[in-house]
């Protein structure tokens, strides 16, 4: 399955897109077992796209969870997002009953475009509470996100002036900005991003936002914003199936810092309150108001240009000037020992751009915040029965919040996160199998972790799905997806039943008896575009 990237795909069968795929829909139909679910994991690239079919009264109830990929990755497995959405249209007959976006990141969203979603209608749309326009906290979070995004983008532009010395930082920031802004370009175009956001910072123009709007606007039966804990949610048309939101958490500490208390006297002006704002003011330079200036009185200051300008000499040129400036003013260089001269006052010791690296951290924080803002859902097929756990890109911060509350089930006792995980037979692995998105622990740990999943009778059925294109991830710096240690742990726990976006079913190896493996394979159907997996109730 894994191939070298080849943009000039010579596949002819599917060239005509939707129509061809539609004609094969009969054999590619997604039919759930009675009372159960059929899961189609699309081989969309390094990203998430799942179509679930729950058993309904007359016809299956279709649920879409995310639709996106990291640009460049589909070429490694020879698929396109258009083929995926064409298949979705064909299989669902053009109507998705519930569309879910777990969080606003490129690799979960960029397949959702007007052209890809042409002639697709949506019943309900579900988002995390962080998207709720009526939630003050959510609004404050989004405003902060927007402010940070602009700051990072501006800092990135200034950092780019550093040329080769800052190229690494710029590259890292670009990589992170691409997540937040979306689109399908392989190389992040900062200039275009800056233009589209504009000086006012209307992040609404980003491709991520457009995809979010599309899902929200098409919802015929309304939009739901899910909050963790409390009560379960029903899937319309699929009786008996209940949905338990586990995350994203509402962080009270953060809430406190974002929402000033009443009568505090400071007003609601974000002003210079935060470190981020102070940094931002400096990034903006002249436009930043009072806070872009030095914190010290004028008498102590020497303007940059005055210190290092043409024809200057003295302390600053001697100790901070570049070699050209020094050559012009110092004629006694030869008197210095050459070994000393090589390092004394050299240009490589300057720090003109180092302060802007703070923006890399800001970008990383944003990325982590968005991942931790993932909507994590546990689907229970029947009361007290099997559970599917879709962890989106939840990282540690999200995982450890799952135990912060419980669910009431209406009739009986409280349901805990540990109970839901113990019944989990399918785990959509967090964040492409990265190191901090599947927590390690034991049954006795006081936080949710892999060991909590699939206890007792459920253990024999445990299956995992990793959304990763390994060969592509290896081309990226710092993307060890999936992490070998996590994949090994999953293979062990699931006795080989671990699907991965780039892996053919034929290449999977069972780790238990042949009977068990054959039984598992009966519920699996492989295709170049997806893998189907059936779970009986």
């Amino acid at each position: 399955m894994v191939k070298a990237p080849n943009k000039k795909t010579t596949r002819t069968v599917r060239k005509s897109g939707g129509t061809k795929r539609a004609s094969t829909a009969a054999d590619g139909a997604l039919v759930p077992p009675a009372g159960g679910v059929a899961i189609r994991m699309y081989r969309i690239g390094h990203g998430d796209c799942f179509l679930l079919a729950f058993a309904g009264k007359t016809k299956p109830v279709f649920m879409l969870i995310d639709c996106g990929y990291k640009p460049g990755s589909p070429q490694f497995i020879d698929t396109t997002a258009k083929e995926v959405t064409d298949d979705i249209r064909a299989v669902t007959g053009g109507h998705i009953d519930v569309a879910i976006v777990t969080h606003e990141h490129q690799d979960h969203l960029n397949g959702i475009t007007e052209s890809n979603f042409k002639d697709i209608t949506i019943g309900e749309s579900w988002f995390a509470w962080t998207e709720d326009p009526d939630d003050d906290y959510a609004n404050a979070l989004r405003k902060r996100f927007k402010d940070r995004l602009l700051c990072v983008l501006q800092a990135r532009q200034r950092l780019a002036l550093g040329g080769a010395a800052t190229a690494r930082s710029v590259g890292k920031i670009d990589e992170l900005l691409a997540f937040e802004l979306g689109g399908d370009a392989e190389r992040f175009d900062a200039a275009a991003a800056a233009r589209s956001l504009g000086a006012s910072g209307d992040a609404g123009a980003s491709q991520n936002k457009r995809a979010m709007h599309l899902i929200r606007d098409r919802a015929e039966k309304g939009v739901k914003y899910l909050r963790p804990h409390g009560s379960a949610t029903k899937v319309p048309g699929a009786d008996g199936v209940r949905v338990f939101p586990l995350g994203p958490p509402r962080d009270d500490e953060l809430l406190h810092s974002l929402m000033p208390e009443e009568g505090e006297g400071y007003g609601r002006d974000d002003g210079a309150r935060s470190l981020g704002a102070y940094f931002t003011a400096a990034v903006r330079g002249g436009d930043g108001g009072a806070h872009s200036e030095s914190p010290f009185a004028r008498r102590y200051r020497v303007a940059w240009a005055d210190a290092l300008g043409r024809g200057r000499n003295g302390f600053w040129v001697d100790h901070y000037g570049d070699s050209a400036q020094k050559a012009a003013t110092r004629t006694d260089r030869t008197k210095f020992d050459p070994l000393v001269a090589a390092t004394d006052d050299a240009a490589w010791r300057r720090i003109d751009h180092d302060w802007l690296n703070t923006s890399e951290q800001l970008a990383l924080d944003m990325n982590n915040d968005t991942n931790n803002g993932s909507l994590v859902l546990a689907f229970e097929l029947s009361p007290g029965g099997k559970v599917l756990l879709f962890a989106a890109d939840a990282q540690r911060g999200n995982w450890i919040s799952w135990t912060n509350g419980t669910w009431r089930d209406g009739t009986r006792k409280k349901i805990t996160a540990q109970n839901l995980l113990a019944r989990t037979v399918l785990y959509k692995v967090g964040h492409h199998g990265s190191h901090n998105a599947t927590l390690k622990g034991t049954l006795k740990s006081d936080y949710a972790n892999l060991d909590w999943m699939a206890q007792g009778d459920y253990a024999g059925e445990f299956t995992a799905m990793i959304t990763a294109v390994r060969k592509w991830a290896e081309t990226q710096v710092g993307w060890d997806h999936p992490l070998k240690a996590i994949k090994d742990a999953l293979l062990d726990k699931a006795a080989g039943r671990v699907f991965q976006t780039d892996t053919k079913v034929a290449a999977m190896r069972g780790r238990s008896t042949k009977d068990v493996w054959d039984g598992f394979k009966k519920n699996v159907r492989d295709d170049t575009l997806y893998v189907d997996f059936l779970i009986a109730p």
Partner: protein
């Protein structure tokens, strides 16, 4: 010049600093200890200040300006013990950075008995090949480099970068929106300077090859900051008087230590291992040591905190033992003090004992640096280094410092791998004789003698035709040495030693864990006659007390070999077996070797400190690969993989930012 006024050159320069940080100085009840005058060795200073070791260059790129450099040699400044402590005068910031960093350098030099050198600047050509090592005369200090809650040492720029930021909230000590300057915190300046000094001794200690290396760097920097602080009796005197009733409970000092960290605007993560506020009682409580403390703790600061706690524990043990008599005297033998303030004389004596004790512990910790393996230090190695270094300098140990260290480390679950005993004597690194016997090397004394008596000429087969004289021990490297000449001497000695090792000295190699066979995995770096490369990194002198009480100097030599490592174990196996050495440098570098201490007078090897495995050792290489490929350094960050630290431009910036969040 007033040539008729006869005055000797001053020995000290007195400079005023904030004792902790400005917030403490601004509180009414701690105003008495807010400021401090410290004495540092006299040197002529240029504006900046710029001296022999340090250069303060105050540029603030975020604000687009520079700040006029302070002239500490100006008459009026000298007459007032430097500029008055001030948050609003950047020139005072320059002075404080200089004063505290210089004080740290002095502690370092006193402990090691020689002048300190900063790590070399490694010059590379456009394609990244090393073209030369350059001497760094001065560490640069940028007091206002960043608008961030961060401060770090940059190994690339040989500079300390300090940030400033607005206080986030209004609380007892901070007013919102006022600016906090990290350069005004004594502990932060000392911490960052300690990073730079450690890098000067062990440039390889910022390569994370196991879970302890980065944690050690952080812990060491914190230990230096903490104990340097405690070595000022004035600060302790005030606190000891204030808390007289609690003094019998040792946790007062631990709490103090932690508050220093907090006041500095840091989260104090490193020192959280010392204790915390108990939510039930609302009182501070020392954390009890636990032998399982290190289990599952991977994050460098959390791990480093445990090392700090272990060393602090040793400090408390000795402090208690040294003051118990004072309590008896003051309480007429009962050991129970009467109510009310304690006598000022007792306060002074207690503070002096605490300061002395802190000074001793600090020196033990610094001296141990000469007794560490050249790469991949573990906490267990460090314990052995502390014990051996102290044993070699002070064979008698009347106050039981070594025992206190060993006991405290044991209580915190830190022990060297594979030790069959945790007694002081078992923890000493093997002597040359023991190592030679163990490796069945005979007749090594003659070979060693030739190092000092013969001119070192390489064997005819060697590619590097370097002729040098005998190892140059004539020029001592002590506290009076010229640093540049010292640096040159180190390089000369390294060449001589390398030549000897390739010739007469090669008989000793098995005992040192070094390999000079053709029959090694193809991934081992080799010279152009097909033998594994030997790199002699540093030849420096370490002080030791001789049997008759005099001070003797040992030569400390670090020798390292390297091998290409690959993240993929199968690729490693394939390339190891190949006939040809692979192109390129592999995914990571596995290094092995040893540190050897040689007594040039008796011409014997005093100590042999080997890395866990040799360059052949596949198991040690596998451990390193596992460490680099499994999991991340920072559990809250999806992209912080440990192996990325290998590539990071600013390894300490990454670590410190986390601390400030």
């Amino acid at each position: 010049m007033p040539s008729t006024t006869f005055v000797p050159t001053p020995t000290q320069r007195k400079l005023r600093i904030f004792a902790l940080d400005p917030s403490v100085a601004a509180q009414y009840d701690t105003a008495g200890i807010g400021e401090l005058t410290i004495a540092i060795p006299w040197e002529d200073l240029a504006s900046g200040p710029i001296g022999q070791y340090l250069e303060v260059v105050d540029v603030d790129p975020a604000s687009g300006c520079m700040y006029h450099p302070a002239d500490l040699d100006a008459q009026h400044v000298l007459a007032q013990n430097g500029l008055a402590p001030s948050e609003t005068n950047p020139q005072f910031h320059q002075q404080m950075a200089y004063a505290v960093a210089m004080a740290t350098v002095v502690h370092f030099e006193q402990a090691l008995g020689r002048v300190a050198l900063w790590s070399d600047h490694i010059e590379r050509d456009a394609s990244g090949n090393v073209v030369g090592h350059n001497f760094i005369p001065r560490l640069r200090i940028y007091p206002h480099a960043l608008r961030d809650r961060n401060a770090y040492y940059s190994p690339d720029k040989k500079a300390l970068l300090f940030g400033y930021f607005p206080a986030g909230t209004t609380d007892e000590t901070n007013t919102r929106d006022t600016i906090v300057y990290t350069v005004l915190s004594h502990d932060i300046v000392a911490h960052e300077t300690a990073h730079a000094l450690l890098d000067g001794v062990h440039p390889r200690f910022n390569e994370p090859v196991n879970g302890d290396v980065l944690a050690f760097h952080e812990a060491f920097a914190d230990i230096v900051a903490l104990f340097q602080h405690f070595s000022y009796p004035g600060v302790l005197r005030y606190q000891i008087a204030l808390t007289r009733g609690n003094l019998a409970q040792e946790n007062v000092l631990a709490q103090l230590a932690q508050q220093f960290g907090k006041a500095a605007g840091r989260r104090g993560a490193l020192r959280d291992a010392l204790g915390g506020f108990d939510p039930k009682s609302g009182k501070w409580k020392a954390r009890a040591p636990s032998v399982n403390a290190l289990d599952g703790v991977a994050e460098p600061h959390d791990r480093g905190a445990i090392l700090v706690a272990a060393i602090f524990g040793a400090f408390l043990k000795v402090y208690r033992a040294r003051t118990v008599d004072l309590y008896r005297i003051a309480s007429e033998g009962t050991g129970v003090l009467r109510a009310g303030d304690i006598h000022p004389d007792l306060t002074n004596r207690l503070a002096d004992e605490a300061a002395k004790c802190a000074q001793s512990i600090l020196q033990m910790c610094i001296r141990a640096l000469d007794y560490c393996p050249p790469v991949g230090i573990t906490f267990g190695d460090y314990l052995r280094a502390i014990v051996t270094a102290d044993y070699d300098l002070n064979p008698d140990d009347p106050y039981g410092y070594r025992l206190a260290m060993v006991e405290s480390f044991r209580q915190w679950g830190i022990h060297p791998d594979g030790m069959r005993s945790m007694s002081v004597e078992a923890l000493l690194w093997p002597t040359g004789e023991e190592a030679m016997e163990e490796a069945a090397v005979r007749g090594y004394t003659d070979a060693l003698r030739s190092l000092f008596t013969e001119s070192q000429t390489p064997r005819a087969t060697d590619s590097r035709k370097i002729k040098t004289g005998p190892l140059d021990v004539v020029k001592p490297w002590n506290l009076d040495s010229d640093r540049f000449q010292t640096w040159r001497g180190v390089r000369h000695n390294a060449t001589a030693l390398w030549t000897w090792l390739m010739g007469n000295g090669s008989a000793l190699l098995p005992a040192l864990g070094l390999v000079l066979d053709r029959d090694v995995p193809a991934t081992v770096f080799k010279n152009n006659i097909g033998l594994p490369t030997l790199e002699v990194h540093s030849v420096r002198t370490a002080q030791r007390r001789s049997a008759r009480g005099g001070v003797a100097n040992d030569l400390v030599v670090e020798i390292v070999q390297r091998r290409r490592g690959y993240f993929d174990a199968e690729e490693q196996a394939r390339r190891d077996k190949a006939n040809q050495p692979p192109d390129g440098n592999g995914d990571f570098r596995y290094r092995a070797g040893c540190t050897v201490l040689i007594d040039p007078v008796s011409m014997t090897i005093r100590r042999v400190i080997r890395t866990t495995g040799t360059i052949r050792d596949n198991a040690a290489l596998e451990r390193m690969r596992k460490f680099l490929t499994e999991g991340g350094g920072d559990p809250d960050n999806a992209f912080a993989l440990k192996r990325d630290v290998l590539r990071a431009a600013e390894p300490f910036a990454m670590l410190h930012r986390h601390e400030g969040s």
